[in-house]
Symmetry: C2
Subunit: 459 residues, 2 copies
């Protein structure tokens, strides 16, 4: 019976696994280097955990399941709710700020289609318990630290930064009702994926005639065109090239909330410069993020050519821990999927995946008579077992074919040294040690060879 894999999932054959490990190892190394500690949680949680704050798109795409006790569970579509739960459980004993990272496997039940995965890996870094913009900068710095060391320059990628706080304040100033803000964010988030006309139309749909504009706005603009004017102001804001343009776009109606958010963005820019990544960063108020729980600075990294979806995204979410029943503790973080990153690194020729390698390949080539063959093989196995027991990597060929075939197999495994047991060596009670780089070969007694090696420490 032949059963295919499920669409939208991936098989990692050894060559795919090497690429995957190259990416994940890089994420882990950079996280540790930047002072983050690793954590993980379960693959599934109670369904309702993801229905609280993850936003409509994620809730629609949940993989839900029921256990034998009839409990409603779901495969995690993102890590942040689990993080909030875990931190809340120990909030009084964890020293703050909490700097944690994770590389969870995540699931979204999208309809199978090209380029959309239903199962993927995501690098998550979060700083919890630190209000200052410095924490947002450290999250962005750590992200750039990885991307830059992976070989991506400021000509390849851009960190586009905005502020939910600024966006909310501007929308309020324009006259959008407080109660409809949350439902407007996913709409605004679609801007980059739509043409100018399509976006205007979508915005009209959500603003015009939907009574989302407050009365005081009517007073400002006159009853007939205040909603149209709101749409065009929202569009103008989202196209601003610098925070300095924003008071002008609002006709200098800027509230103290707007000015406070602008000051925060300016401070962020200054600190990003201090951390030496100003060239990677740009202000872009079209960055909204789809998720409902962001409260401050938000950002996404995009390839400058615009060929791919966002490489990663993140931001500040100061209310989430309280939303999950904990105290009011501020937080900021980032999530980067493995799929778009791999496509981009591959396109730029930056997938420097380490080759399979091996310290020793043990070759037995005695085929004159059965007894000699058996004896040579027995010696080969003893040497392999001894090398591995000492902590060295060693392999052999099950086929035990000709010397040249076995040497080829050793080369394919990128072997440093071959240990050869031929007829002559066997008679002399010796082995030949061949350095596969210098091609030099010398005969040694087995004991002499093994006692000359150091045992590797640890497992």
């Amino acid at each position: 019976m032949k059963i295919p894999p499920v669409k939208g999932t991936r098989d990692f054959y050894p060559e795919d696994m090497a690429v995957h490990n190259y990416i994940v190892d890089g994420w882990k190394k950079v996280s540790l280097r930047n002072g983050f500690e690793e954590y993980d949680g379960p693959i599934f949680e109670y369904l309702k955990m993801f229905q609280i704050k993850s936003g409509e798109e994620i809730v629609e795409q949940l993989f839900s399941l029921t256990d034998r006790g009839g409990r409603d569970l779901a495969l995690r579509p993102e890590m942040t709710p689990t993080l909030a739960r875990m931190v809340n459980q120990r909030i009084s004993s964890l020293p703050r700020p909490i700097k944690w990272f994770s590389v969870p496997r995540l699931f979204r039940a999208e309809r199978p289609q090209k380029g959309r995965l239903r199962e993927f890996f995501q690098w998550n870094i979060d700083i919890i318990g630190e209000d200052s913009v410095l924490a947002d900068v450290e999250v962005i710095f750590t992200t750039v630290n990885y991307l830059r060391r992976a070989g991506l320059t400021s000509n390849d990628i851009k960190v586009k930064i905005s502020s939910r706080k600024l966006l909310s304040a501007v929308l309020r100033e324009i006259g959008v009702k407080e109660s409809t803000l949350d439902s407007l964010f996913p709409v605004l988030d679609k801007k980059a994926k739509l043409s100018r006309e399509a976006f205007t139309e979508l915005l009209n749909e959500h603003i015009i005639g939907k009574h989302v504009v407050e009365e005081f706005s009517e007073k400002l603009f006159g009853e007939s065109d205040h909603e149209k004017r709101a749409v065009s102001e929202i569009e103008a804001f989202m196209e601003a090239k610098s925070v300095d343009e924003i008071p002008k776009i609002l006709n200098l109606r800027s509230s103290s909330d707007v000015m406070g958010a602008i000051r925060e963005v300016r401070k962020l820019n200054r600190v990003l410069e201090q951390w030496g990544i100003g060239d990677y960063c740009t202000f872009d108020p079209s960055i909204v993020r789809g998720l409902a729980y962001y409260t401050g600075i938000v950002f996404e990294v995009h390839d400058i050519a615009g060929e791919f979806r966002a490489i990663c995204g993140g931001g500040r979410y100061d209310n989430l821990l309280a939303d999950f029943g904990g105290p009011a503790v501020s937080a900021t973080g980032m999530g980067m999927g493995d799929y778009v990153l791999e496509l981009l690194l591959r396109e730029k020729g930056l997938l420097q995946v380490p080759k399979r390698d091996l310290e020793y390949f043990v070759i037995s080539t005695c085929d004159a008579d059965e007894q000699a063959e058996e004896e040579a093989e027995k010696e080969a196995y003893q040497i392999i077992a001894e090398l591995r027991s000492m902590g060295h990597s060693a392999n052999f060929s099950y086929k035990m074919g000709s010397l040249s075939k076995q040497l080829k197999e050793a080369s394919a495994q990128n072997t440093e040294n071959c240990i050869i047991i031929g007829e002559e060596e066997l008679k002399e009670g010796k082995i030949a040690v061949k350095n596969m780089v210098t091609r030099k070969q010398e005969r040694k007694k087995v004991d002499e060879f093994l006692s000359g090696l150091e045992s590797v420490k640890g497992v």
Copy 2:
């Protein structure tokens, strides 16, 4: 809203994650050292994939889910069906033998109870496409290579080895019907968990009056007691201390199948001796393995004190690839869960988990006036950013408290060197570099310090 974790799952806080990584890193290192290549597959497959050959216990404990297209899926309860599917997909292009390993996350919907996890990790190694007993030995050797280097001696653990081929041949010889063999294995597998009386009773239930004994057996023993005699012969076989006892237990009625299987076990023992792990291994015909698909050598590793469930288990499964629609290709492998292993290593004091560490901790202590404070912090951030950009690990304190508090924080992170920017250093345009082991401290210009460091290669 406070939501608890799902019972039977684990949260990995950083200290738990360190233990988890210690175990998984060891598994990966030993696999590579023994010439295995890493692979992975999806967390879920089509439900029917696990209903074919995994055996009743696993099928009962499947976490099943339905996707939006109405497809029946299941979270993987074991890795072997996925492995068989993946190998079958590329069977003509993969050079044999295939030596692969994986560390999958697996799921079993057991009723939540103490010590039973519904989500766990398992180390899998498999050799596919090699008939000889050498492949079974290499699987067992690799298993012991890990356990021995983790610190477990032959006084702590034992590899208990038997043969499904031998068991089947003996059962046939005793008179058990061919068609009921498969359903008898899970019954026999329960022996270790039951008292002698309870096991006899269970066996009686499955043999007596159930017509599982063939007619020719009746002829041998006489009609009245042949079934009772079969039960006692099965029990005697399962308690044999050596393969040499088996012909006697069967009253020398041994068929050529029985003798062939005995010869194979003897050969296995010889080769295990050659590989230097004879002291870890013992013949134990009570080892059956619950899974339905085993066909040859089977084994389990147990703690000698008998405090824990099996640490791992494995064996030969020569028919599985064909069962999944592929060609007849032989295979042998092993699976080791993380949970029992961790309990055992902890009990023996062998969890040598590496501590968190850090190359540099950057400390700013200028609090005389605001300007100096700002300048020192700015310099600290520049140094941290530069160190991390060069590939070095560096951290700092968000609190920027007193020198002694920051030094304490640095020690808690196991820091090698502290970089200190105090008032005097700032005035001189220098930093103090303090070696945290020797406690020696010297002043350097920032540029001089940074240019003296080497950039780390790679990400």
